[in-house]
């Protein structure tokens, strides 16, 4: 029944999906936090930049961004991100696109988390004479992060699913393999079920585990 799987690297494809997800998650968490800091910070130009970035990027389809990294950055501007082979270049470009896109949502999640931190916390920190960066990194953000585990989990799950868009620039992840298999093999329903199951396996535990973590670390108020 599963003979047709021979010759296809199913686990390899899902491993690429996992790699895309993890690398993009780390990148977008960092860039998203920086954006959030800009948006709540005292420098008007940075606030404006953060707001504009989030509002523009959120309204562009990820597909456009990913295709642009390949056709625009790579093919037109010769950005290779330090790689030689196209499979490596495309993978890195996909991570770059996913980070640029996902960071906008991470930024908004963190900003909503900052809003849940009681005003008194920041006021007390300021009364101690802490600077903006100190208030943010020592007092506000640690509490904010603990309350946004839930929303960030949703972003992470969405990111996992969004990695399939990398198929548009030929990154050999799960969706591309599925398309190839469907074109060459007859077992449409079985193939689809396998890939659906694969994604359920990736997203469902993420939601359950991080949901539990979120409850565990939430600041009880």
């Amino acid at each position: 029944m599963f003979d047709f799987l021979e010759g296809y690297d199913l686990l390899g494809a899902f491993w690429v999906t996992v790699q895309l997800t993890l690398l993009s998650a780390i990148g977008s968490l960092v860039w998203g936090t920086v954006l959030a800091a800009m948006r709540v910070g005292p420098v008007p130009l940075m606030r404006g930049f953060g707001t504009a970035y989030v509002n523009i990027v959120r309204n562009i389809p990820l597909t456009v961004i990913i295709l642009f990294t390949s056709l625009g950055l790579n093919q037109t501007l010769n950005v290779t991100l330090g790689a030689q082979r196209f499979d490596v270049i495309n993978f890195r470009l996909a991570v770059l696109g996913l980070v640029a896109y996902t960071a906008a949502f991470v930024c908004e999640a963190i900003r909503s988390g900052i809003n849940t931190v009681p005003v008194g916390q920041a006021e007390a920190a300021r009364a101690l004479g802490l600077s903006f960066i100190q208030v943010l990194t020592l007092v506000v953000l640690p509490q904010a992060f603990r309350s946004v585990v839930g929303p960030l989990t949703n972003v992470l799950i969405a990111l996992t699913k969004n990695t399939t868009v990398a198929a548009a620039i030929g990154v050999a992840e799960a969706a591309l393999l599925m398309k190839e298999m469907i074109e060459n093999e007859a077992q449409l329903l079985l193939i689809s079920a396998i890939f659906a199951f694969g994604f359920v396996c990736l997203t469902l535990p993420t939601g359950l585990i991080l949901g539990w973590v979120g409850k565990k670390v939430a600041v009880k108020r």
């Binding site: 056709l71 093919q75 037109t76 010769n78 196209f86 495309n90 030929g170 074109e183």
Partner: protein
């Protein structure tokens, strides 16, 4: 009262959506029925200059001219032809399901395809080749491609051919369409674009690329372009006859000159019907 306003608002949104979709389906029907009377549906490529291209002025290219001539001989005038885009992957399915009457879309006759559909022709003999920058002297044989960045179209036989036989080590980038490769070729992000020389010549001849690209002239394969029809269709013989007439009365030569002339493409003489070079 409050509720009613909200419902009215949502009703307005729905109505808007409905009318938007209604419009589009209406448009489609218009396309299908304009002109009245009998129609013939022809599958062509939409994005290959010189062969089949959708332009603001209509459709143009050698495949289009051949299709027009054949349709005329079958008894259809130009405005009775309905053009459809036949993407490489879809061609057999489109014929098998009867979505189109015949396909003239850089459609190479191969044994695998002949199991599924019938071919009239061939009407043109092309060869797989590579397009390189005009000032690039480093690619002298197909083996030179091993150290080069090569672009082709996802799932195309040209890409597989290079990878399996001619230059297995080539750094291959795949895009959904050939046009996506052109910018990269110009900007040196890739070194060569591979597919049939007839298609490549069309791109090289485009106004914006004049003098920037050249064909390497490798003739790596023989591609016998045929007109695809449904298996067992009686159109095959009629189209064959039309193609013979097209060569005989000089229309073939004229169409080739008009479409490939500007590209400086050294096309092969008109092939004999049924003579397939492998």
């Amino acid at each position: 009262m409050k509720l009613r306003k909200a419902t009215a608002a949502s009703a307005a949104v729905l109505a808007l959506a409905l009318s938007a979709t209604a419009c589009s389906s209406g448009d489609k029907k218009d396309e299908g029925s304009s002109g009245g009377g009998k129609k013939i549906t022809v599958g062509i490529k939409f994005d290959q200059p010189g062969l089949g291209q959708k332009t603001p002025q209509g459709y143009s290219g050698f495949d289009v001219d051949v299709a027009k001539y054949v349709a005329k001989k079958l008894g259809y005038s130009e405005d009775q032809i309905e053009w459809k885009e036949a993407k490489s992957n879809d061609r057999e399915t489109m014929l098998q399901r009867g979505d189109v009457d015949f396909i003239a879309a850089t459609y190479s006759i191969t044994p695998e395809r002949e199991e599924k559909v019938d071919f009239a022709g061939p009407y043109l003999l092309a060869h797989q080749d590579v397009l390189i920058r005009a000032d690039d002297d480093s690619i002298k044989s197909p083996a030179d491609l091993n150290s080069k960045k090569l672009c082709s179209v996802t799932g195309s036989t040209s890409a597989q051919n290079i990878k399996n036989k001619l230059a297995p080590k080539a750094n291959l980038q795949n895009y959904p369409t050939y046009s996506a490769c052109l910018g990269g070729l110009q900007n040196k992000a890739i070194d060569a674009l591979t597919t049939d020389d007839s298609i490549l010549a069309g791109y090289a001849a485009q106004e914006q690329f004049k003098g920037k690209f050249k064909l390497a002239g490798f003739k790596m394969t023989n591609e016998n372009y045929g007109i695809g029809v449904k298996k067992g269709s009686d159109l095959k013989d009629k189209i064959n006859k039309a193609l013979e007439e097209m060569v005989a009365d000089g229309s073939w030569e004229k169409a080739v000159k008009a479409n490939f002339g500007p590209a400086n493409y050294k096309y092969e003489p008109a092939p004999k019907i049924g003579e397939i070079k492998s």
